[in-house]
């Protein structure tokens, strides 16, 4: 069983690595020649920003896979977040580089499927249920990044990128100092919300992220170890 899971993870790692590299190539193509190949790049009006976002997310995939392969004892802990990350990147980038994402996207979805098989559906579902609010926070971060790359001018893009990264970081670091995370969330997300107040959604997202961020850190304080999905760990929903 363990050997089978190891093989699964190795296969998933290879698929995700190839997908991530091809994703970076797609991002570079979008950023450099995207406007000249509209049929392939999706005819986007912000090819440079979308290309850079694709590069960043694809690079994040490579980092996640590297961490998954490098992990030893807590390797099981990494499976669920990596699976979710692969799915998020596959989904988000399907809107950023048009047809250039077909191959990388399919590879990342396949990799996510294989990691899911390695983890086991029951464990995956339990872990997701336990860390649902963190997942929502991470999704809000990805949405913030998506809005940021379609913004102008560059200062607004930077503010949006900072907010998105902060939200994802808060989701990952939910067990760190609560005050630090909440204050960091406010400081990082407010500039983008203020700069785009008239667009309704960015300030709304900030409010929702703040509420979920507070709930997530509070939950993390009372459920240390809840993300652990190793067979010896207690059932996450029972904690």
């Amino acid at each position: 069983m363990i050997r089978s899971r190891s093989q699964h993870l190795t296969l998933a790692g290879r698929l995700a690595t190839i997908g991530g590299i091809l994703g970076i190539v797609a991002g570079v193509a979008q950023a450099t020649i995207g406007s000249r190949i509209p049929d392939w790049s999706g005819n986007k009006h912000q090819p440079v920003g979308l290309g850079l976002l694709t590069i960043a997310l694809s690079a994040g995939t490579l980092v996640a896979v590297r961490r998954l392969n490098a992990a030893t004892a807590p390797r099981d802990r990494m499976i669920v977040p990596v699976t979710i990350w692969l799915a998020i990147v596959a989904g988000v980038c399907s809107t950023t580089v048009g047809r250039l994402w077909v191959v990388p996207g399919l590879l990342l979805i396949a990799a996510a499927g294989v990691t899911l098989a390695a983890c086991g559906w029951h464990r995956f579902r339990s872990a997701v249920a336990t860390n649902w609010l963190r997942s929502l926070l991470g999704i809000l971060g990805a949405l913030e990044l998506l809005m940021a790359v379609s913004a102008a001018p560059i200062t607004t893009i930077a503010a949006g990128a900072l907010a998105g990264i902060a939200l994802i970081a808060a989701a990952v670091l939910a067990r760190a100092d609560r005050r630090l995370i909440v204050n960091g969330l406010i400081a990082a997300t407010l500039p983008f919300a203020i700069a785009t107040w008239w667009a309704i959604i960015p300030p709304l997202l900030t409010v929702v992220a703040f509420v979920i961020g507070v709930a997530t850190t509070r939950g993390a304080e009372t459920r240390i170890g809840a993300i652990d999905v190793t067979p010896s760990a207690p059932h996450p929903l029972g904690t």
Binding site: K44, H45, L133, L146, M147, V149, A199, I200, I201, L205
Partner: protein, 387 residues
Amino acid sequence: MTRRTMLHHIGVGAATVVVAGVGVGSYRVFDNGVLDAGHGTAYDPWTNWRDDTTPLGTVAAAILAANPHNTQPWMFHVTAGAVEMFTDPARRTGVLDALDREHHIGLGCALENLVLAASSRGLRPTVTLLPDASDPTHVATVSFTDAPTSVSDLHDAIDRRHTNRGPYTDEAVADDVVSALGSLTAGLDRISVQWFTTTADRETLGALIIEATQAIVNDDEQSTESFAWFRNNRDDIDTHMDGLTLDAQGLSPLVLAAAKILPATSRTAGDSFWLDQTRTVHTATAAAYGVITVPEPDDRAAQLNGGRLLQRIHLAATVAGLGLQHMNQITERIDRDAQLGTTSTLAAGMDALLDQPDRHALSTFRLGHPVRAGRPSPRRPVIAVTR
């Protein structure tokens, strides 16, 4: 299940629903370009129109001119010593502009920008209207000879001129400004502008405009033709690089963002919105109306020269910090009635208002101090309109 667990599940469920809603909204913000209106390839011609100093560069200025429904009904042939301008019949607005009046006025507007751009490039322009009797699509030839560079305020306002469909303040347009705008007819034979600045005159003309708007909305064919040129989303704008957009409707930032995030409206809803805006904003806040008048509004040369004057006035108004909106509903209905062979009450009403037996309305616009700045409309690049 304990009460606390149940409340926890309800809270998590509610958070999920809210995040899903925010997700849909965020995607609409991204997909419809809510945060970068007026940027991107479709808007690049507004920023790079000065780059080319050759005669081809005059076309870059010409394509920024006012034109009906942003159809950009032009095509150009550029040589070392001249630019030939043609109509693009595929860009007619059909029964909405039944006799191609606005089509040719728009070409006249482009011609004026082209002439201004030539002077700024050290080229003295000589304009010949309708140079080829055997080819009605060939509307003008502009020949160039070398001359000292002459850059005017009007030329420098080319990229700042946008139709302003938003509300205007109640500040009156100063008489000397109106007078200056009316004196821009140099070189344009038998073209003039008549102003309506008193409350009574504005109300009378405003009522005719509302009546004409209602008639267009009630005419399915005209309404359909008008709606065909409305670009509801960013993909359409990037694909076509023409047409009317939400950004150019003069809406407040919040209303504009909501309109772009919500699903696209139907033709009927769009018509209702337009009629309501005409009643409550366009006519209600007009500080003045101008009507370009000519002896024969069906004459192509008069339409082209009328367009040149219209563009001059719009550029001069921009220099003066005024907003201007073209409001041609009355003449659209007059031409539609002529096409259908029906009696036009609007023609009689307009002639009575002008009170000049030998002159008729060519086009109409409103003027005023704008509450908010006008926004650029998408444009096809020079390469797409030259042959």
